[in-house]
Symmetry: C2
Subunit: 317 residues, 2 copies
């Protein structure tokens, strides 16, 4: 199989009916898109490198799934509806079985999310996937990081720290916990509801770790964020598997792809209802304050110190 | 310098005034864009890997320049006006001087092309740059590969084979010839004029080689393309440096980033005038015929055989 056959094969395996908004898909120097009227376009981009973003022995299925899921999660955190993505794939060599797995995983991530592939490229090189994805959102509706205001509540979806715990306990973690690492669910429905109904004043997805991502909201909004450690929703299995590190996983482990968002107290009931409607826990974990930075507090109100927040690719520590 | 400082630094060094159409640029989970009314969006994506797309000892400036120039060339071949790009950058380590060079090169490629950076990411890994770029084009105006019709002329801009010759003769090539390899000019003005004035029926940029890229037009349009070898514009320096391989460079060498396009005979005068206006040679090199494939003919009308057309990253030959 050569490069042209590979592109043809990827195109065939990932094929979906193209919406009218995709005027020209794969097969030219570029794709052509007609933005639906009165919609803004939300664009995000992520690279996943073997040995950096996933262990080298990760299954092709999980690599394929996760490479798209992380971009879908960025769209979710903006409250956007998925539209298209492109895939830039670097491969050391062409292994047909491996490609089958990768495309199975990508298909799993696409399923139900109404997204189509419009292009990309394939090339030789160390295993790496770079995806740019776009979504649509009503003008002024997107959830940004810069809208948090003092006095508001801080919320998270789902449970936090699962992925980091699973990564450390691959041999003993349950299938469900491993799926939290390898098959994260982008919270698209939640993000879109929050954006459409104007329930959240700011939002980010938890990819680098709760403290790091809440810290981005704090920095962009010019506020402080206080988080009550005991209120962070941690899965029972995580507490059981590694009680001493459960809080560290929750506070600094990334890769959960839950949403952290801020909302006025007036929306507490609406958020409770939304949680029930989506069958997804939404938990109030803290408060927006004047000031700066993220502050994790214990039961006595004293600041808890956990290791460096989030993952820095170039940090020397 | 950590990852966050690096992103801040890239953002500062590549900063341009944001047009109104960029609602939110770098700094959130995604960018937000407002597509100008009655415009289609053209999207292209390319990855450049060290040791594959450029020699490992290529200067940072040239890597930076070329990584964006190849995407601009794809926009040119569609007839689109550049709008935004994002940059996914994988680095083994952080070398400040090297980053300075990379950003200088990117700035050079941005200058005069009215394009802004809206996002991307930086991560550890083997040196690789992946860029997605978008442009704007009037609905129905984009130059596609699938519009060539029998009886039309085949044209190319500039001279062909320069980059391939420069790559083989780095020690003896002139500064100007080396610039054709390292600092290619995306033919944006040409592409936009061809699209706007409806002069071309199909178009591609010459990135994989003239025969390969003309072959893509032939395949997508369901036609044959005949090229007269003697009519291909080859630079005097290429003929002088390597007379035995000049035709091979022109026919199969990629990386020239000139445009190959088809146009009805009625447009010959308009194209002559456009060539003068842009101060860019436009040369008629062949004819669109019924049939399939690309056929390179010598002075006697016999088919010339040159080595495999274009570069296949996974070909075993």
């Amino acid at each position: 199989m050569g490069e042209f056959e590979l592109i043809k094969y990827i195109q065939t395996r990932l094929a979906r009916p193209l919406p009218e908004s995709v005027v020209l898909g794969i097969g030219d120097d570029a794709a052509i898109l007609a933005t639906p009227s009165n919609q803004h376009v939300v664009v995000t981009s992520d690279t996943l490198n073997a040995g950096v973003h996933f262990p080298r022995d990760t299954s092709a299925e999980n690599i394929g799934y996760k490479s798209l899921a992380v971009s879908l999660s960025d769209l979710a955190s903006m409250g956007a509806k998925p539209w298209w993505f492109n895939l830039n794939l670097s491969l050391i060599d062409l292994d047909f079985d491996w490609m089958e797995g990768l495309l199975d995983g990508l298909n799993d991530a696409m399923d139900g999310n109404d997204i189509v592939i419009i292009g990309g490229d394939t090339t030789g090189g160390p295993l790496s996937l770079s995806i740019t994805a776009a979504g649509l959102c009503g003008p002024g509706k997107a959830l940004r990081r810069d809208g948090a205001k003092p006095g508001e509540d801080v919320w998270v979806s789902g449970s936090i720290g699962d992925a980091a715990c699973a990564l450390q306990h691959m041999d003993t973690a349950s299938v469900d916990l491993m799926a939290r690492l390898n098959r994260p669910t982008a919270r698209l429905e939640l993000g879109q509801k929050l954006a459409h109904d104007g329930l959240a004043s700011s939002c980010a997805d938890i990819s680098d770790g709760l403290l790091a991502d809440a810290g981005n909201i704090a920095a962009r909004s010019g506020v402080a964020i206080q988080i009550i450690a005991a209120d962070i929703p941690i899965a029972d299995e995580v507490k059981r598997l590694d009680p001493n590190n459960a809080l560290k996983y929750a506070a600094t482990g990334g890769d959960d792809y839950e949403l952290v968002f801020t909302a006025g107290a007036a929306h507490r009931n609406a958020l409770k209802n939304l949680s029930a409607e989506l069958n997804l826990p939404l938990t109030r974990i803290g408060t927006v304050l004047q000031g700066q930075g993220v502050h994790l507090l214990d039961a006595d109100g004293a600041e808890v110190s956990v290791k460096s927040p989030g993952y820095d690719h170039f940090s020397s520590t």
